[in-house]
């Protein structure tokens, strides 16, 4: 194995932007959300509008989060292969599954070889797929609750299936609970990034700012293609 590391441009600008907008929105949404659920503050007078502002911030960041999530999803079809949608289903191909096992073994101390991945590591990518589902759950329930201020409005009509599936109280409950699942993901994510940064020596964390990672093998920057659905090909 060569010790030489190659500097590669992996994370394009929209990917990085979306990532950090998500980070900021999740932090702000969680903080304001917790306060909305349990207002520990005390408004000094009736014109204070404290809860009003907190809810306003929550809604502004909800829109920011929505735009970010949608942008990132569009980019899975237009960005490079590391941003591509196929990244999120590594378990669909034999090579991907093999890679996943490698990473899994390392995580569970069964192997001593830190796996090297150029883009997402397949375990992480699978988790991201799950997290995107949670994002959409939060977006749908969140906006469904938000739209109740104007029943019959466009947003309320668009979200009708959500009201059929859940009562408002149920939405409140699960919107609240899923926040904790996202907390769990964040803990995992930050820890894994830190771990892989150390173990892979690929500049994992700084890559989220610069876009560059260091890898042991040179390769051409790839393009994701929409029609390239099957068969599954390893990106190597």
């Amino acid at each position: 194995m060569s010790d030489k590391k190659f500097k590669q441009y992996i994370w394009e600008l929209p990917v990085r932007w979306c990532h950090w907008v998500n980070v900021l929105s999740i932090v702000v949404l969680a903080a304001t959300g917790v306060l909305i659920g349990n207002p520990v503050f005390i408004g000094s007078s009736t014109d204070a509008y404290l809860m009003g502002w907190i809810r306003f911030i929550h809604f502004v960041f909800a829109y920011a989060f929505l735009v970010s999530v949608i942008t990132r999803m569009i980019w899975t079809f237009t960005g490079n292969c590391y941003a591509g949608w196929r990244e999120y289903f590594p378990f669909m191909g034999a090579a991907g599954r093999a890679e996943m096992k490698e990473v899994f073994d390392y995580y569970t101390f069964r192997s001593k070889h830190p796996p090297e991945t150029t883009g997402h590591n397949p375990m992480a990518a699978t988790a991201y797929f799950g997290v995107f589902c949670l994002y959409w759950f939060m977006i749908l329930t969140g906006f469904a609750m938000y739209a109740e201020h104007a029943p019959g409005g466009t947003m309320h009509s668009l979200l009708k299936p959500v009201y059929v599936l859940m009562t408002t109280q149920t939405m409140h409950l699960y919107h609240h609970l899923v926040m904790y699942l996202i907390f769990g993901f964040v803990i995992n994510h930050v820890y894994s990034a830190w771990l892989m940064d150390i173990k892979e020596k690929g500049g994992e964390i700084s890559s989220m700012f610069s876009g560059y990672k260091f890898t042991t093998s040179p390769y051409a920057v790839c393009k994701s293609r929409l029609w390239d659905f099957f068969p599954w090909k390893s990106k190597k």
Binding site: G43, M51, F109, T167, Q169, H176, Y180, N188, L195
Partner: protein, 373 residues
């Protein structure tokens, strides 16, 4: 009135206006009443003449009121119906042929009244249902005259012009349908899917809303527009929270923390005492109860969300969120969520510690030798 007039009246049946006149209600009062119901139905004021016209023509359509697994609360609400002189009479505009709580007849003779109406006015009478319908044990959990509630509902609601489910029990199963639903109780629409049903949930339903639905039906010959839970938009089209007189205190961040504290006395927001106004669609703040005297929030107790489906299982009175399914009652979402997050954090802390101790083969050791560039 001359003899001929009387004969004519007998032939044509009753008109509401004439009846009210006989009861000492002037034309002026009648028109005033019509504007009131028009407003209750959230129709434009220009509709009031049409309402008056329609009521003028109505010939006391028959109405039967069935009580199943009920507490009689909606009947009592009807007795308190809001417009003091006329509200009551609106029910007189109907021929209430069957209502166990108020009718004079009993036993077989009462049952005969019901059968007569169902037969003679097939597809033309209105049916009001109070209480849920038990589906288990072949209907033995509820019988009248030896017949199960389900059998009666199928027969009577099935051939009614429309069925008005009053109260949360008749609408969605209500209290009897709360977990573990020992009797398999369901609402009318679920028990008789073929029937035309309008839901007026609430515990009990507001009699003003019932009156408004009946008048709407008589005026336009059809039921008002409904939301996805089968409730008329004129009464359930907005959240309690959005019409609440205490909303400014919510936005300001002024909340009652203890019963009887300063904020409670000053009428601050009851959000932290478990008020379900933000999750409940109903016109309580505007329509109020007992001739608009009051409503729960105005009297210092939070909304419990009684007009929402499954509210019994999802609206603990004094806590904001429902219980988390599958956990004990004291396990709220925050406790479970924090435990989960702490668990994840702890797991990775251990993982991290183990990683700090372990030696990787091709990664760490080899790269260390000549990895510097």
């Amino acid at each position: 009135m001359d003899r001929e007039g009387k004969e004519k009246q007998k032939k044509e049946g009753f008109s509401v206006a004439r009846m009210l006149e006989e009861r000492g209600v002037s034309r002026r009062d009648f028109l005033k009443f019509c504007s009131t119901v028009t407003a209750a139905m959230a129709l434009p004021a220009t509709m009031a003449p049409k309402v008056a016209q329609a009521l003028d023509k109505v010939q006391r359509p028959p109405l039967v009121w069935l009580e199943f697994q009920d507490c009689c609360g909606d009947t009592e609400a009807l007795l308190r119906s809001a417009n003091p002189t006329v509200g009551e009479l609106v029910l007189d505009i109907l021929s209430v042929d069957y209502h166990e709580t108020i009718m004079a007849a009993a036993g077989h003779q009462a049952e005969a009244n019901l059968e007569k109406t169902v037969k003679e006015f097939q597809g033309k009478y209105l049916c009001v249902v109070e209480g849920s319908i038990p589906m288990k044990e072949g209907g033995a959990y509820g019988c009248v005259g030896g017949k199960s509630h389900l059998a009666r509902a199928r027969q009577v609601c099935g051939s009614a012009a429309a069925t008005i489910a009053v109260g949360t029990c008749a609408s969605y199963g209500g209290i009897a349908a709360a977990a573990p639903n020992p009797t398999g109780a369901v609402g009318v629409k679920e028990a008789v899917p073929g029937a035309t049903v309008i839901n007026l949930p609430g515990c009990p339903c507001n009699a003003d809303n019932l009156t408004a639905v009946v008048v709407h039906f008589l005026t336009f010959g059809k039921l008002p527009s409904l939301d996805s839970h089968g409730r008329p938009l004129f009464a359930y089209g907005k959240r309690i929270h959005d019409n609440c007189e205490r909303r400014p205190h919510f936005d300001a961040g002024q909340y009652v923390e203890h019963w009887g504290d300063d904020a409670h006395r000053k009428g601050h927001c009851l959000y932290k005492m478990g008020c379900k106004g933000p999750a409940t669609f109903h016109n309580c703040p505007t329509q109020r109860f007992n001739e608009k005297v009051s409503w729960p929030v105005a009297a210092g107790h939070g909304c419990v969300g009684c007009s929402e489906p499954q509210f019994w299982d999802t609206s603990p009175l004094y806590r904001r969120l429902p219980n988390v399914p599958g956990f004990g009652i004291e396990q709220n979402a925050d406790k479970i969520g924090l435990a989960f997050a702490a668990g994840v954090g702890g797991a990775f802390a251990i993982h991290g510690a183990m990683n700090a101790l372990r030696k990787d083969k091709d990664g760490a050791s080899e790269n260390q030798k000549d990895g510097e560039e």
